[in-house]
Symmetry: C2
Subunit: 200 residues, 2 copies
Amino acid sequence: MALTTREQLLATAEQLFAEKGFYGASIATIAKELGLTKQALLHHFGNKEKLYGEVLSALSARLAAGINNIRQQRLPPGEQLEEMLLAQYREQMTNQNAARLIMRELLDNEARADQAGNWYLKDYLEELVETARAASPGAKPSRAAALALVYQLLGAAHYFAISQPTLVNIFGKATLNRTRQQFEAQLRAIVQASLSTLAS
Amino acid sequence: MALTTREQLLATAEQLFAEKGFYGASIATIAKELGLTKQALLHHFGNKEKLYGEVLSALSARLAAGINNIRQQRLPPGEQLEEMLLAQYREQMTNQNAARLIMRELLDNEARADQAGNWYLKDYLEELVETARAASPGAKPSRAAALALVYQLLGAAHYFAISQPTLVNIFGKATLNRTRQQFEAQLRAIVQASLSTLAS
DNA sequence: GGCTTAACTTACCGATCGGTAAGGACAATA
DNA sequence: TATTGTCCTTACCGATCGGTAAGTTAAGCC
């Protein structure tokens, strides 16, 4: 799949924003990485905030697409949530940029002088919450209860994904590899356990 | 409890580092917040990296103290892990600075040109892992398996804590309040469910 | 009084930050 | 051939970055 020029620019920008954050990554650094001058990059995107915004909306489009794929498989409701979570987990483990970017956005979107309304994760989260409500075996739970469940699952997966560099330093490569092998199965177990908690 | 001058400096620095991150918070801004000049702040801590380091080690000392308190209550092993997690969750919900700082450290400690070995979370994590191993009802699980469990629980709690500002914007205050009310009970349920998964 | 030390101050430094202005190279179009 | 728009350049801008150097002020100690 050939990337357009613009997509290549965004891919590199995503990489650097994920690594160093909005403040840590300068437009000059990003441009240098691309073999451009800073002003050429600004020509394409206007300013730094817009560049960052485009990176994020491309990411949120990818997240939404991933969810849609699974929904169109028409799995049983219980499995659907599990597969969405697992797909998301695998995606974030292989593509750490996405995981880190989302986490940074959660941390920074308040402090950055953002005009209101840039909540790139909104659709994605709403979709997961509805899936969880449909997946509950008993009576349909409230949005609030489903949100609590979804967030615990998301957190469990996401937190682990971004912690890989730290964990390998603390516990070593061998232990971490064994942990990774166990992680997915335990994640599935938690999904089912919390779904049945939700029902009661 | 009267804070010493130095503790006040560190408290303010913690606040700003938590809000904006290492790169986003400048020493001039921190000093201004304290009513000092930038150079006065540098006088106390040498440079920015050292200031940040002191903030983090104070935090990790607090985390360790919190865990020790609970261990000294000599609860049954199963409850001990649950109490540690919940204490940690409550602490992070009331003091968001701690939660945000830890998250930022997980994201940044690789990119910052840190001299190796600044793993402020090491002791804290090792302690939790050992508690989880002791808490398992069956045969003592491997460190790797216990780490997977601890990390999922920690992630579930921690991720929710830092997401409060985003969630209130997406779902509104009322829903989020209801979610918070449910969250703790579901967290307890997940602890027990995953402990029994671990045993099998 | 003399001396030391801690806690600052003002005055800088070079580097880098995000961003603007103006114009050149070049391909497509009229 | 002339014109237009895209893409990119060099040359700047003022602000801010982290950090250094040197001097001042006040308190404690002998």
